[in-house]
Every structure is written in C-alpha cells, then in structure tokens.
Symmetry: C2
Subunit: 347 residues, 2 copies
DNA sequence: CTGTTAGCGCATTCAC
DNA sequence: GTGAATGCGCTAACAG
C-alpha cells in the first residue's frame, strides 16, 4: 500500500525484543565477558564494575538466553521425562517426586508421553536428545533394555520399572512379587483361603510378578492355586468391573479379592456393589499401589503402598548425580501393607 | 601418569559425540547450506545431491541440534505449560488435551508448576521465557491478569480460568456459576429443598462463582439461602470429610449435599459412610468436575462435567494459532450435568 | 582483574 | 542451484 513519502509510520511494536548480554555490557560500560563472569561467578570482578553491571541487569531486566547458554556449554539445564500416560495417577505420584527433586536445581523438565508404545517411546527419546536434554528419566515403558542402553551413550538415563546398572544408565525396580506376596498373605492371615485375583495384562512384567507373589503366598500356606480364581484385567477400572462380574457369574467361590492395582480394585468394588455384595462384610478386597485417592474411597482401600513419590525423587537425584559425576547413595523404602477398611477377618 | 612413548592409549570413548550438519555436508560432499536447505525444504536442490545428503543423514544418524536451530531462528519449538500441581487429576485432564493438541506439531512442552503461589508462578514464567519457549499455556493460577498481560508482550499466552482478550493473551473461562446452578437445580428438581453446600476456599474465584450458582438456583425456586448449610472446604477430600462431620454434628438438617468439586464430594461420601448414612438412599450427593475417577466411585458420582480435556486442546490450538498468526475458531462445549447414582428423588 | 577473539551448530543472506 | 560468509547470544580461552 502506498503512503505519502515522508510520513512516519508509527509501528506499535508491542513485542519487546529481549535485551542481550551485549546490551548490558554496553549499558554498564564493560566488556561482555565481564558481564558473563558476573553472571556465572567465573572470576573475580572489581566491586565498582560489578555494581554497574548488576544495576544494568536489574534496570534492563536482563535474562540470559538459555538457548545460547546451552549451545555454548552443551548443557541445556533441562532433563527429559518419558511417561506413558500424562493423565494417570500412577505417574502423577512419581512425577511429584521428580518435581520436588528438581526444585531449586535450575533444571526444568520436558515431559513427553510414550503411550505404552515402544516405537513412540524411542521417537520421544530421540526428540529429547535432539533438544539436548542433559539426562532422561524413563518411567516404565516398553522399549527394550538394550535400546535404553544404546540411548544412554548420548545422555545418562535413569529408568524405573527395570533393572539397569551401567555407567550411564541406572534402573530402579520395585519388588512387585514381594508386594503381591504381602497382600495375599494379609488375606490369608485374616483367615481367607479362597482368594480371587484380578491380574494385570499378561504382557506386562509388573503384572506377572504380582501374579507370582500371589502364587507364592498361597503355596507357602499350603493353599492350592486355582486358575479359575484368576481373571485377567488391564490395570484399569473397567477391567476390574468386568472381571468381578465374570467371576461371580461363573459361580466362583471366594471370600476375598486381590486386585493387581488400585484402579482395578475400584472397578471390583463397584462390581460387587452392583451385585449387592458388601465390602468388607461379605468380601474382603485389597489393591496394589496405594494411590492417593485410595485413602478416600468408601470404604478406604486396603492396599500395598509403593514408594512412587520416593522413586521419582530418587530417580531425579540419581540422574542429577550421574550428570554431575557425584556419588549417589539413596535407598528406596520397601513396599508395605496399608491395612485400611476393605479387608476383615473371615468369620 | 607416564606411559611409554609410542604406545597407543586406547580411549574407550563411550559417549558418542553428536554428528553435526557440517559432518553431514562433508560426508555428502556438499556445502552446509545445501544440507540445511534439504532439511528445511527452503530451496530446490538437485536430485543427486539431495540423494547423497539424505543417505548421509541416514547412515550418520544425524539429528539437528534444536538448541542451535532455536538460537538461530528465534523459535525453540517448545511451549511452556504452567500448572499449579503436577499431581492433580484436575490438571491431568487438561494436560491430556494439551498433549493431544501438540501431537504431530513438532512442538514439545516444558511443564512447570506454580503451586498456587503467585510469586512462584511469575518466577516460572520468567524461566520459560528465558528458555525461549514460543508460547505459554497458563492453567489457572493466582497471578494477576495485568501481570499475565505484561508477560504476554514477550510471548503469546493462553490462560484458563480467566477472561483475557488481548492480541497476545487469550483466556478461557468455564462458567462455574452456571455449572453450580445446574447442580443445585438438579437436586431441587428431585424434590430436595434443604441442600447443604461444601464450598471451595473463599479466596478462590471459581469457588465463589460456584457458591453464586448455588444461591441463584435456590432463589429461583423460592428456597431461602441458609448460611448454616454452607461449610467451607478447600477442594480436597479431607476438607469434604471435615465439613460433613461439622454439618452433621451441629445438627444441620438437609437431604442433599452439593460439594464444590469431586474431590470434596469423595470426602463427603466417606464422612457420610462413617456416620452410617447411605448415599443416595438417605442423602443425595453431587459433585463438580467429573473427574475420570468419578465414574468408578461406589456408587458412581453424579456431578457437573467440565470440558477439561477440550479446554486443554482448545488452549493449545489457540496458542499455536497465536504463534503462527492463524485464525482460531473453536468453541468450548458447555458444562453439563452427569446424572449418575448418588442423587435420587426425595420421597 | 579485564577486554579481545573465537567459536557452539545452524539458517540465511549474498554472490556466483 | 549452490557455496561462502555472517551472526543468533553466550562462554571460554587467550592475552594483556
């Protein structure tokens, strides 16, 4: 569009363009390196120059461009987190621990989701690597250990739900078998002998370990394992609901149900309610995970507490140690039974 | 340490150092700019060179350094998300929508938490800005609108839970008042006239709007508002539990309870259970939010569905449109009543 | 103590 | 079409 020559076009430039380190240097009458030194405490600077620079930084509201810092230093001060499902209470707890572990460290986190899909997970990790994250926390997931090890050649990786012990890849695994053993033994100690189990998906190692723990507890008490008392679920509520309906409709006899995780237990609980079966008066019910919400179900759910928060915290600290070369010592607390109100002694 | 001269020290360098665009260019026998052009489709390149470059990229497993790209282009291809609590089902749902909105866009997200603290929120936003995110999604929060507007001069911001309409800052607000009105009216239509309300914190605008909706519904039905039937909660389960105990112990008479959100309703439900009061036989209960877990409470919770997922999706699309300068048209679906099994007609 | 210089890896003029 | 040159903003030698 033509405008009269000589007319000044007033451009309302709302977008304040960022002030750079060079701007600060000019303003303070020093060299850029001096500003950098003050920023990073790399070397001593005379008090007067320091003063000048600091006021310049304050008045100009200078914030160093982290992209540039990262490009230069090779460290982006961000770590990547791979979860499988962003909206899952299970990962939430762990993320909470991660969040706290990162507090005041200067690190931020890029969270991506693998959606329980090995190919997608690998793609996400590549994405994180391309973004030059300084390390990766991999929460559960389906990619193979050797793939993880391969990726860890680029950046350190701390994983949960798998055992890894290389110099750049460490894994933490909770003892699912033991937890399931605890849960089942609790029911047995309450006098139950016919204990149904709603399992997780058969292609999931956590799920299979929990099944193993259930079987061991039965065996140690001389109770025969009956396949008919086991129904497969998928760790979600709906599967618990369906499984318990199936168990009831096929006339299985049992006085207690062990659900492979809390969500499944919620579904079982609802299924029993629909059939007019009371918990714990008629049937005892125990879960696994101890999600925060399990404190407030009606009635509050007896379950196995997994230190998910601690695992997130530990994973984060371990990763930071791996990055900085520090030693790591922390220990994960053991799984434990939380006896609430869905289990009771068999009369 | 001294070693014999001439002896070759085999250094096991596990850390594969990344291959750069320059490496690719050399390998393919072209100039770096040609590689760049192919990467970005910026200009036409002869088929043979393109071929050579592409094979070089594949064999060398080249991944462009996003930090460098970002520094150069000024766009980091990441957006910042400010939540208040990483482990909250409320934010989860919205994040799920954000996650889907970002799918296949090339954008990744860095998630930070403001912990319901204005100062921390501001600090986090500054951090995101320093990281050169291309835009920010602010989910709820306590910082003032004018602060948001100020920040939006640097990067576009889309916020939820507040109304904003500038060129670089857009806000979406759900109609809390209307939702609360719906909930209360539902109870009234079922014949209830003495309806207790467990509110959210008084310093929270969502909470106050829900209270207003409750009052309007009462008023439109000619039911007098009684302050004694309102107990303050804080949106968490424990507060629902305490509130209902208080209501019962102070001998308030009511046949239904409206809890300001689902978590509070869970607490109320448990409190009623503890007193031997059945839901919905003795008391009707309604929540607000429609968290995923409310489908599987026992009994399933009647509640007000908020389109949290859609809001996350819409916020993301809007932000991307703001970034790219596109037009945005999407509309948020209205709040609606989900009648499940915790409410019933008063006999 | 401090300024000058030279890149980090890439995209983008500008010439050819 | 393609290569050479330049710079994004910052840090880290290197001299003084």
């Amino acid at each position: 569009m033509l405008t009269d020559s000589g007319r000044v076009e007033v451009q309302e430039k709302e977008n304040t363009q960022p002030v750079t380190l060079l701007d600060v240097a000019r303003e303070a009458g020093v060299s850029p390196s001096t500003v950098s030194r003050i920023l990073n405490g790399t070397a001593k600077v005379s008090p007067d120059k320091r003063k000048a620079v600091e006021t310049a930084i304050a008045t100009m509201k200078f914030e160093p461009n982290q992209l540039a810092q990262g490009l230069k230093s090779g460290r982006s001060m961000t770590i990547g987190i791979v979860v499988q499902d962003i909206a899952s209470p299970f990962f939430d707890e762990t993320l909470h621990g991660v969040d706290d572990g990162l507090k005041d460290t200067g690190y931020a986190s890029v969270i991506v989701s693998g959606h329980w899909n090995a190919a997608e997970e690998a793609a996400r990790i590549k994405l994180l690597l391309a973004r030059k994250v300084d390390g990766i926390i991999l929460l559960s997931g389906r990619i193979e250990d050797k793939t993880v090890l391969e990726f860890s050649k680029h950046r350190p990786i701390v994983a949960t739900g798998r055992a890894l012990h290389s110099a750049t890849a460490i894994g933490f695994k909770l003892d699912n078998e033991y937890g399931a053993f605890l849960a089942t033994r609790h029911l047995i100690e309450l006098g139950h002998r016919r204990i149904a189990f709603v399992s997780g998906p058969v292609n999931n190692s956590d799920a299979m370990e929990r099944l193993a723990g259930y079987r061991r507890a039965l065996q140690e008490s001389g109770i025969e394992y009956e396949e008919e008392l086991v129904a497969e679920g998928n760790f979600h509520e709906a599967s618990g609901l369906m499984a318990i309906h199936h168990l009831i409709e096929t006339q299985r006899q049992f006085t207690a149900v062990f659900a492979a995780n809390d969500l499944t237990a919620y579904g079982v609980r609802l299924g029993l309610y629909r059939k007019g079966i009371r918990v714990p008066e008629d049937i005892s019910l125990i879960g696994f995970d101890d999600l925060p919400s399990s404190t407030y179900t009606t009635p509050p759910l007896t379950t196995i507490h997994q230190p998910l928060y601690d695992m997130g915290l530990l994973a984060t600290r371990t990763l930071l140690a791996l990055i900085s070369g520090d030693e790591i010592v922390n220990q994960l607390p053991p799984l434990e039974l939380i006896a609430r109100e869905t289990t009771r002694r068999l009369r």
